[in-house]
Amino acid sequence: MKPATLNDYKRRLLRVLVHIQEHLDESLALEELAELACFSPFHFHRIFKGMVGESVKEHVRRLRLERAAGRLKLGAESIVCLALDAGYESHEAFTRSFRSIFGVSPSGFRSSERRARVAAAPSGLHFANGRRVKDFKTIHPGGNNMEVKIVRRAPLRVAFMRHIGPYSAVGKTWDRFLPVLGKEGLLGGDTQFIGICHDDPEVTPPGRVRYDACVSVDESFSPTGEIGVQVIAGGEYAMTTHVGPYRKLGQTYACLLGQWLPRSGRQLSSRPCFEVYLNDPQGTEPKDLLTDIYAPLAAQSRISAR
């Protein structure tokens, strides 16, 4: 089997982009789209965002609004109907979104000769109105000069506490977790502090994001109460270091998975990514925080000699 190329990744995403254009009135669930592109649902959204330059949600929303703009000019449907078609429950929300994208309100747009500005589309893709989408631009927001290392990690035993809720509140879980371990003498100079996000905080509703706060431990630690033990699998990982506040981690994930990965010749395994926190967020300025992001790579199949 050949290593995956940028074109392979583009072809797979194109299937999704065509499907979205042709099914704008459907719910377009992420799992379904991931399956179309043969990506693991864990990683699909970040790959999409990194390659297309907008999230699936933003992309779909923009296409629906572009379609609505066309119908506003050419048809006689009421604005409320168009709002519902575009997936909005109220006239006001529709108007707000429409104006943010086109710089004019729907009624203003309909009644005047004014042309709306063209919606920003990093991928160059707009509502195709039945024509088949054949290509798209992959953006390069610094993805090409991103420093990525392929590293081999040994399996790592960790104690963890599960957090279910907004990613921005994981600090509270850490605050409960660390004292329990610390008073047992389980934190030292070589302890690794790791976060495993089982959901993408940009996709999953905040109240349902599952995140494991993890601390490396040896065999002497056994699970207790709320604290479990798991093993982070060994093997090859693509690793990059994110510099800056945790709230901007999503951008680095999107860059790694959507820009670097498609050009790397590698594919991801279906395990979740994880992040290793290199400094204490309580004694470090957010702009100086260092976080290593690890994306698990699928084993490379041997290229058969011919």
Binding site: L178, P179, G189, L278
Partner: protein
């Protein structure tokens, strides 16, 4: 203003002027300060040095988290600091690295007691975290007037910065008196040597001559 017990103590904020890090030498007044400390001899990065850093952090984390678990006053763990000297004189560049002596430090709030430390050491020993932790002690340093300056670059280029500090001291009728002290602001595992930031500090006294 009284602090509520939930409010976390930040020693850097409390003693901001003591951590001044300008690009040219200045005089600072360092009040007596409490540290967790461990000392030894040998090259930085050597086995004893690495084990000692592990023991020092182990003690610092365990004390802090034990207190926090019990609902006692919380605080941030400070950055690593170190005093350096050798028996052949204060100028380290003249001594072979295996004869460098060091006292590694983590600044700690005054309310941390010897009892807190003793309990932490017991817990760490029970966990099999290495015998070095028995060497960790609480130490108060009273450095007084010091020359201080930010050094940017590899640790082995510090002599250039130290020479500027020395010149500054002499111009102010002062002389170095006491151990060279540094505060590691950057993580050497991640920051390239040319960007490492380190506060250099040296106690001074009135020039006798």
């Amino acid at each position: 203003m009284t602090k509520t017990p939930q409010e976390k103590i930040d020693l850097y904020k409390q003693h901001k002027n003591e951590y001044a890090a300008p690009g040219k030498p200045v005089l600072v007044e360092i009040k007596p300060a409490v540290y967790l400390a461990i000392s030894g001899q040998g090259a930085p990065g050597g086995d004893q040095f690495t084990a000692s850093i592990g023991a020092l952090y182990g003690a610092a984390f365990t004390i802090k988290m034990t207190r926090k678990f019990a609902g006692r006053q919380d605080y941030g763990i400070c950055k690593l600091e170190g005093q350096w000297w050798s028996d052949s004189g204060p100028d380290l560049s003249k001594a072979p690295k295996d004869q460098w002596r060091w006292n590694l430090l983590i600044r700690t709030p005054r309310f941390v007691t010897g009892e807190d430390l003793r309990k932490a050491v017991d817990v760490l020993l029970k966990r099999g975290k290495g015998e070095e932790v028995k060497q960790v002690r609480l130490e108060t340093l009273a450095e007084g007037t010091c020359v201080q300056m930010l050094h940017v670059g590899p640790y082995d280029q510090e002599c250039v910065t130290i020479a500027r500090m020395k010149e500054f001291a002499e111009n102010n009728q002062l002389e170095f008196h006491g151990r060279h002290h540094e505060v590691y602001l950057s993580d050497p595992r991640r920051v390239p040597p040319e960007r490492l930031k380190t506060i250099l500090r040296c106690p001074v006294r009135r020039n006798a001559g």
